[in-house]
Amino acid sequence: MRRLVLALGLILSCATVAPAFEIEEERVFDAGSGAPEVRILSTTDTEIFAPLVVAFQMANPGIAVRYTVASTTEVYKAIAGHEAAFDLVVSSAMDLQMKLANDGYAREHRSAETAALPDWARWRDQLFAFAQEPVVLIASRPELEGLTLPRTRADLITLLRDNPERFDGRIGTYDPNRSGAGYLFATQDARQSDTFWRLTEVMGGLSPKLYDGSGAMITDVQAGKLALAYNVLGSYAAAQLAGDPSAVLIELEDFTNVLLRSALISRDATRPELGALFLDFMLSDEGQTLIDRRAGLPRIDPATLASAGHRRPIRLDPGLLVFVDPLKRQRFLREWTAAMVRR
């Protein structure tokens, strides 16, 4: 009986949304009965985003927020497949967002806040970056005792080649087959220089551990299970490593990719104006400050890029479509897997 009720309840609660895609979390931030609801689909955990939502509701009382979390690929599927109607789509997968925008799934929106964004943080007034995070290398101090911390990828290659015994089975990185972010980082690395494939070759010979997300990688470094974690999201690293001297965050100096988290207003949105309102809030000074300080996602700040030449924002341009191409993806993953997974 209880199971029936539970099942019914589950069905009923799902009926309003009825997603045919996989969601990881969903939370409704109420605003009184009958209040209009803005539906946000995001790849960022609710916990991280919550302060922003609360602040938005304080600034805009009477608007409810339905915050749904899914993986990057599910987010893409949901929108591209017209699976569900969301007002705002927030994702760290720049390539998938770009494809959505390129294929006409985003609405145009212009406001003072969007106009204030630098050119590289915006595409066609349809796709907007709201946070910039460097993609970094995490190194365990104790594990690298006695060794010089690598400053460039060439350094890293040399380090790994010269000390295979210390790093065998102790390197972690994203599995691009399973993680959209990982795929993006890997492909961006590959297009930037030749060193990526050489690094991949070298890493591949050291039985690397493959992960789905940054969090687990960082934890393992802190726990001493990994000596190095390559291509980690800087925001998570900074948050998790805060105050922990045992691990160090390294921005490689040959180049450090900067990921842009982006948002778009879906063409299928039922309340696009509310989506726009939330987006503008995210881009406003208050929103950006909250994103930076409370969510831990660095705000859009051209100065930080200008001050460090090695930091290269991943460009919001059609180039991102290349690696979304299935054939290309297939080819890349084949090569990558061949290089990385040998034993």
Binding site: N102, R124, R191, D317, G319, D325, K328
Partner: protein, 466 residues
Amino acid sequence: MKRLWFASSGSIRQRLILQLLVLVAVLSWVLYLSVKTVAGSAVETTQDAILGSATIAIAEELRGGEDGVAVDIPYTAFSMLGATGEDRVFYRIIIDGVTVTGYEDLPLAEEPLGGLSPVFYTRSYQSETVRIAAVERSVLVGNKPARVEVIVGQTRSAQDAIVAQMANRAAALGLGFFAIAAVLSLLTARSVLQPVRNLTEAVGRRGPQDLRPVERPVPSELAPLVTALNQFIARLSGALTRTETFIAEAAHHIRTPLATLRAQAEITLRQSPDEATRASLRAMIRSVDDSARSVGQLLDHAAVVYRTDQRTEEEIDLVALTRDIVAAFGPAADLRDIGFDLSLPDAPIVMTADRLLLESAIRNLLDNAVKYSALEGRISVGLALEGEGGAGLVRLKVCDRGRGLSGTRSSTLTGRFRRGSNVADVVGSGLGLTIVREVAIAHGGDFRLTERDGGGTCADLSLPLG
């Protein structure tokens, strides 16, 4: 002076300016269109080149192998398409007619793809205008050639934006050109018409009697006009001379025989004792005098009419003139024992008027007074200034003790050839007072006849001094 009313057929200056402006407007428009077209075409060529490069870059990466064609889209192929703006990118790769990747419904080229250069065409796709480059390659799979088509499309907003910007610049250029040219047109029109203005001024400055030919140098286009004008002046001058000569000769040719006639009548009068004969001779002589006076007044009137159109203004002392004319009438008045009572100011009264017209008027006034005055009567002639300074007028009053107007309104008397009802036996045609009135009007003055207290008529001529 009678004003000739003629239809104004527009202004040369306006026509010139209008035509220049129209021309400039057309040129500006042409300039704008040319720049826009050239710019647009240049931009399109450039964009096409980039698009073509991207397409070729993809095509270059096609590799034939044992089990099929390997497609490897280079990152830069699409990345470079984002260089000039934020256009949407679409692509489609077809191997032996089968779409292997990309947007399956991206339109194919209609013409055959051959050679190394990409083929460009524009289509509508996903509700936008998309420019597509298509390239074909033959790749060996195993030992069989596979036909591979690579098409890459891009929306045109960046291109359109550039063209719009250039068009704006071209428009600004066009407008600037138009504005400058408009100003120059105005200046040109002014300068071109300067000779006309100069000529007008020179001719306009001439006095009414100046009938010399125009001899100043003029531009060749105005020369025919000046020649025609001079011919006209010559004809007018000739006509005027002939008119003056005619009047002189007419006077002579009519009056001389009349003089003979009168003299003969007087001779016969002297030789006829018979009262009846003498009476009829006197009647004859009165007729001769009537004719002579009529002729005189007709010729006078003709001269006056001519003069009112062509006044020669000069400074005339009215006091002196009146005195002279009264003196001229002396003996004639004397013959009838008529005396003049003059009340003229000591100081001269100078006014700008036509001498001949004034003389005619005053002479006719006095002639009229002498004619209608009683024998042994006195005619008073008074000249006085009225009003202040430049706004003043001068009044000439000639009063007689004749028979008066006997109720006839003075205005009817001055109508041509009117004579009062009580003057049937007095010699003279009615033109005299008409002449006085016409002269008054020509000078902007006034003339009226009034009954005099105690009998007689006063003729009142007032002329403005200014």
